[in-house]
């Protein structure tokens, strides 16, 4: 029956209709939300590309967030392998410590045009929650954050930050008490309060237009990287690495390189959380081990059982602890444009410690998954090549989790 939707996607393929990325994406939500999704898309199309919106957005990105973020040559990490040069895109140096604020800020500015004064968001690691609470403080919007109860414990510092910023943090006690359930509860709240509230989804997931809009707001990571490497090295990277949970940092850095990847000039690699291992039942490797299905409004690769019930994911990093993945990643996977690989908890924690000691940078546990893959990738690279790794967030929040 999947063919039914395949047929449709070919008809309205990715070039003609942005609602689907190949066979993935779509809008599987209750009717109550459809008008809000239509309005959000229309508002985005009307304002996002205007001079006025861009002037305000760019002003805040530069003077408030601290963009462009640096492109840092990781000398000691490069020396360790003695092969390709390793560059780090320093999204951890954004205000609030991760790439999440690019999207939170962009959407909060749109909320103004939607005439909505209240914001709801979900958060896993708390990075998106903190970013959202921050822009709500900045723009004087009321803010409500749903967070899995388990995550409020393992990411306690971020809960304190959100509260200090004036957000209401609501622990979610249903299901696995992690990101999946926080997202479900945020959507339920949104369905109930759709007239007054805008939902700022934190990853490139959810019903159209979210995966598309989040990508447009995060692609600045890849756009800047391209310009910076051209200036520093007079060439594009040979490899681009990013961790993938829902996949917003990855889509942000991959998307501007997709043409080069299609031409075989660049290899894009997304690292999924393999938890205790992909052959156990404790992992969050949605593309590696999932099958197409619908969760939170979109068709995408999904960890599910034979009856289509969503399986409980596991990852040591709260931000990757999600059973689904953004629909555009599923499309990139099927088309062979991006290679998706798994990385286990233990390997991520080892990389977390190593990067901290070698470079004096404490990466987020999410990002540590991408660093861990260097062990596999670097021996295959050659001198003179460039590996670009998206350092999506900083790891201060994770100090309790790794002990």
């Amino acid at each position: 029956m999947f063919g039914l939707f395949k047929e449709k996607s070919q008809k309205n393929g990715v070039n003609q209709s942005k609602k689907y990325f190949g066979a993935y994406g779509g809008q599987f939500v209750p009717e109550t939300l459809m008008p809000a999704l239509e309005e959000f898309e229309a508002t985005f199309q009307k304002y996002f590309y205007t001079k006025e919106y861009q002037a305000e957005f760019q002003h805040y990105l530069k003077n408030y967030v601290g963009r462009p973020t640096p492109m840092y040559f990781a000398k000691r990490l490069t020396e360790k392998y003695g092969k390709a040069k390793i560059y780090l895109k320093r999204e951890d140096l954004n205000h609030t410590g991760a790439h999440k604020i690019n999207n939170a800020l962009g959407q909060a500015l749109l909320a103004k045009h939607l005439n909505k004064k209240e914001i709801v968001a979900e958060t896993g690691a708390g990075q998106h929650g903190v970013a959202t609470a921050t822009v709500c403080a900045l723009l004087d919007l009321k803010c409500k954050i749903f967070m899995g109860e388990q995550d409020t414990i393992r990411q306690a510092p971020n809960v304190k930050r959100m509260k200090l910023l004036g957000a209401e943090v609501i622990p979610v006690t249903s299901g696995t008490k992690t990101l999946k359930d926080a997202t479900s509860e945020a959507i339920r709240y949104w369905v109930t309060n759709v007239d007054s509230t805008h939902y700022i989804i934190g990853s490139a997931v959810g019903p159209y237009p979210y995966p598309y809009i989040v990508r447009e707001m995060q692609r600045i990571i890849g756009d800047e990287s391209k310009a910076q490497l051209s200036e520093l090295e007079h060439k594009l990277p040979d490899y681009v690495l990013a961790c993938v949970g829902g996949g917003s940092n990855a889509i942000g850095i991959f998307y501007p390189f997709i043409k080069e990847a299609a031409a075989g000039k660049i290899k894009l690699i997304g690292v999924e959380a393999a938890g205790h291992g992909i052959d156990t039942d404790k992992h969050a490797a949605s593309i590696t081990k999932g099958r197409p299905g619908v969760l939170h409004g979109a068709m995408s690769y999904l960890l599910q059982d034979k009856d289509g019930q969503v399986q409980e994911p596991h990852s040591v990093s709260a931000g990757l602890d999600y059973p689904g993945v953004g629909p555009e990643h599923s499309y990139f996977h099927d088309e062979g444009l991006v290679q998706y690989v798994p990385c286990k908890d233990d390997d991520a924690i080892r990389a977390f410690r190593e990067v901290t000691k070698l470079e004096g940078i404490i990466p987020a546990l999410e990002t540590a998954h991408a660093f861990a893959y260097l062990e596999t990738l670097m021996p295959q690279t050659k001198e003179g090549e460039i590996v670009l790794l998206n350092l999506s967030g900083r790891g201060d929040k994770d100090l309790d989790s790794i002990n």
């Binding site: 599987f28 209750p30 007239d195």
Partner: protein, 258 residues
């Protein structure tokens, strides 16, 4: 007319089978049989809990088909009512994974009338509506109070043979159950809005309109019908009774609201 929702396999498979029998004995016009799902986005705490328990009880579509098939074989009271007018209330994913061709065949085989899929808006429903129609099965679509005229018209055309109108923004259940979601939508002009939407639907089509979400008493049923709806649907209220107080109280309540 009255429709009743229960989650298949809640509080256990035997009790839910007996509840279906009771609904048939009571000549209920429509039965919505909930297929449990791990992530019921449109549901409040009562149906979430029931869904969760049903999954623990091992319920899946094959078990549901067997249960309905057994009930059919044991005999039914009225053509076109009760078990003979039973539709599946299911989120998209369990049906999608089961396979729609297989699903349609099994519905035909077991006498299930069709399906209602709360996370399937018209944008995604076109092909399925066609498939169900060709098989002479129902596929019910939902209209919400946020739907504009254009959407109401399209949904009224596609939904077959009747239309489900969601009585308010929000999830299933009584306002008491979902107060943690702080529904700010208990607006005074809600009735006026619903009346106008029902009028709008009726100007497009002669299909029947069922009103659901938050209906939990005889008064609210009468109120729904007074707004112009042809049918009222009760879900969380009866399901909670079945789970908390048992089959007898459930059946008593059903009889009392008729």
């Amino acid at each position: 007319m009255l429709g009743i929702y229960i989650t298949a396999g809640y509080p256990d498979i035997e009790t839910s089978k007996k509840a279906l029998r009771s609904l048939d004995d009571n000549n209920i016009d429509l039965i919505e049989l909930g297929v449990p799902f791990s992530d019921p986005l449109a549901d409040g705490p009562v149906i979430q809990k029931a869904s969760h328990q049903a999954l623990i009880n091992g319920v899946n579509l094959d078990k549901i088909f067997s249960m309905v098939s057994e009930l059919q074989n044991e005999g039914t009271k009225n053509p076109g009512k009760g078990i003979n007018n039973l539709i599946l209330f299911s989120y998209f994913n369990p049906l999608f994974v089961y396979g729609f061709d297989k699903l349609i065949a099994k519905c035909k085989e077991t006498g299930i009338r069709g399906a209602l899929i709360p996370d399937l808006p018209i944008e995604e429903a076109q092909e399925l509506c066609q498939k169900f129609k060709e098989a002479d099965l129902d596929l019910i679509l939902l209209i919400a109070i946020t739907s504009n005229k254009e959407r109401i018209k399209k949904i009224s055309e596609l939904s077959n043979p009747w239309i489900y109108l969601v009585s308010r923004t929000g999830v299933t259940g009584s306002t008491e159950d979902i107060k943690n979601l702080e529904s700010s939508n208990l607006e005074k002009n809600l009735d006026e809005k619903l009346k106008n939407i029902i009028k709008e639907i009726k100007s497009n089509t002669n299909k029947k309109v069922a009103l659901g979400f938050g209906i939990d008493s005889k008064e609210k049923i009468d109120h729904a019908l007074s707004l112009g709806a042809d049918m009222a649907i009760i879900g969380s209220k009866t399901l909670k009774l079945l789970g908390d107080s048992g089959l007898e109280e459930f059946s008593k309540f059903i009889t009392s609201v008729q």
